[in-house]
Amino acid sequence: MNCAESHDLLLDLAYGELPPSQATEVESHVAGCAACRAEKEQLDEARRLAAPLRELEEPPPGFDERILRAARAEAGMQAEGTPGPVVEVEASVKPLGLQATRLDPHARMRRGGDQARPRWGRRAAIVGSIAAAAGLAVVVTSSLTTRPPIHDEVSPIQVRAPGAPASSAVEEALPKQFAGPPASNGAVAPARRRAEPVAQAPQKKADGASAKGGRAELARAKREQDAQVVSDHVNLDLGERPPPQSASSAGSEAKIAEKAKAVEARRDPAPLAKEAPPQYADRAVASAPKSVPAMSPGVGGSVESSVPRTADQLEEEASTARRRGDYVRAGSLYRDASALRKASEPARAAWDLAHAVECLAAGGLIAEAVASRKDLVASFPDQTGPRAAADSALRSVPLPPDEDKVPTSK
């Protein structure tokens, strides 16, 4: 070892970052080299002098409080540790991406015991990771962070819902959730159903707060407080974000009503419409290009099939939709492109299908994504690259070991 090398490594040596063998080498060089020894001594002296700066300062009392409040709110926990009710609405028409994860308060008790986290909770995390893996722009926020002033009533219930209503999915999903953690595909199944267009969604506007038990009111107050804590801070660092949208469009009203319905259904066997805070997704919808259809077919069938297009055109549109964040539409278009060129260009068709899997998964349509992957495996058994991509998109979803089988629960 020469002086130059030694010089480069003296700091690493001083901070213990060298592997033992290399450390020994440097030390033996330093032992025989006056210049390097002098340099090392200077470093050591400076570190000795600076030692008081390493001592920890203690944060002032009360430092933890609002952080822990926010953490509990994030964990969907009330301070007293009881689980907050959560409703998940499937069949998204717009990308959930990380929002889905953020919207999921995982309102569970602490882990342990037999309070296993339901699968759908896990899936939300999957959706998030897929969106991240797809390199898509994601916005991290929370339902808790977007409490607009126009809603004087904040629902005591965390609604975990995609950006648009899917009434059939809601109805189908709810009983399953009442019955306890759904089986592996229990909550996925509703996603297969075609979501109803926004305009057809029930327009049940909230009809004000209904009388609730005192305990429920208390719990709500607590949650609101927690939510406000988070909200306060979000405003700090997302100053460039647009102000909360008012629920002016029929779409967002419908969404609110839909969520409210879900909320009430969850907490009460006799559903009663009630206003819930709009999710961040509302904002995203409002800022999306108006020309984009609010909904796209969830399952099968081509989009805008009246206009015949080539596979290339479909792929191009899919790519555009994907960049725009309209994953469900992108997934559908990719699937159509794949079908068109299945015979002529199997390799590209396989990739289209793999992209369809990625997009459907990112759009929250896990069941469809799984079905498309199955299609991919069956139709293009020798296309390992696309298959790996599809598997990667679904890496957190339990896939059936047997490729021939449709994924079923358990």
Partner: protein, 211 residues
């Protein structure tokens, strides 16, 4: 130590809805993080605000955190960005902060604790710290951050390089300048290595904040 869960494990548990796991993470990192801001800004009130803000961002971003990333790197990336923002916002206030710092801790000479029972070393440390803090604040910010991240947060140079978007050699150069700058600043106050603590802290593998 073996049974101690890693930061990453705790965060994963928090992602699963266990707020208690986050509490443990907080207890582990609150001191070091707060100290990081104190050292960087020389202002306790702002250090408190920004350290809280950092943790709140962790809370908010936890759902999107991926297990591949090291928690501590993430934590200090946020912290460092907040520092950058803060210093951009009020570049002019920096000298005021320095004055406030001095006012808070008292003039250097008077900072010697009167408590005679205080051990020599602690007394010396208490005497030197305000001096060091001022010298640290007088360093260019990019040297200061490297110094604090390495000395106090205990991040390896490689991670610091990623965190500040510079190459590792640049980071090490800044570290040398920082150490040399501190040494000279103390020397100009008549403090030399003889006055310092007898030995450097054992650095290898020791991460602050694992208490």
């Amino acid at each position: 130590m073996a049974s101690e869960r890693t930061d990453e494990e705790l965060l994963a548990e928090f992602q699963q809805g266990d707020a208690g796991a986050f509490e443990r993470l907080l207890r582990r990192h609150r001191g070091p993080l707060y100290t990081f801001f104190v050292r960087m800004l020389g202002d306790r009130a702002r250090a408190e605000d920004l350290a809280q803000e950092t943790f709140l961002r962790i809370v908010k971003g936890s759902a999107s955190w991926e297990h591949r990333a090291r928690f501590q790197t993430w934590l200090y990336t946020i912290a460092r960005n907040l520092c950058v923002d803060a210093s951009r916002r009020d570049r002019f206030r920096r000298t005021e902060s320095l004055d406030a710092q001095e006012g808070e801790e008292g003039p250097l000479v008077d900072a010697v604790p009167s408590d005679g029972a205080m051990p020599d070393r602690a007394a010396q440390s208490a005497r030197l710290r305000p001096l060091l803090q001022r010298a640290l604040l007088a360093l260019p910010a990019e040297q200061r951050e490297v110094f604090v991240l390495r000395e106090q947060a205990g991040l390896p140079f490689k991670e610091i390089a990623e965190l500040v978007s510079a190459n590792e050699n640049t980071v090490k150069s800044r570290m040398r300048y920082a150490l040399e700058g501190l040494r000279k600043a103390l020397a100009s106050e008549g403090v030399t290595g003889d006055d310092a603590e007898p030995e450097p802290e054992p650095p290898p593998g020791v991460r602050l904040g694992r208490a």
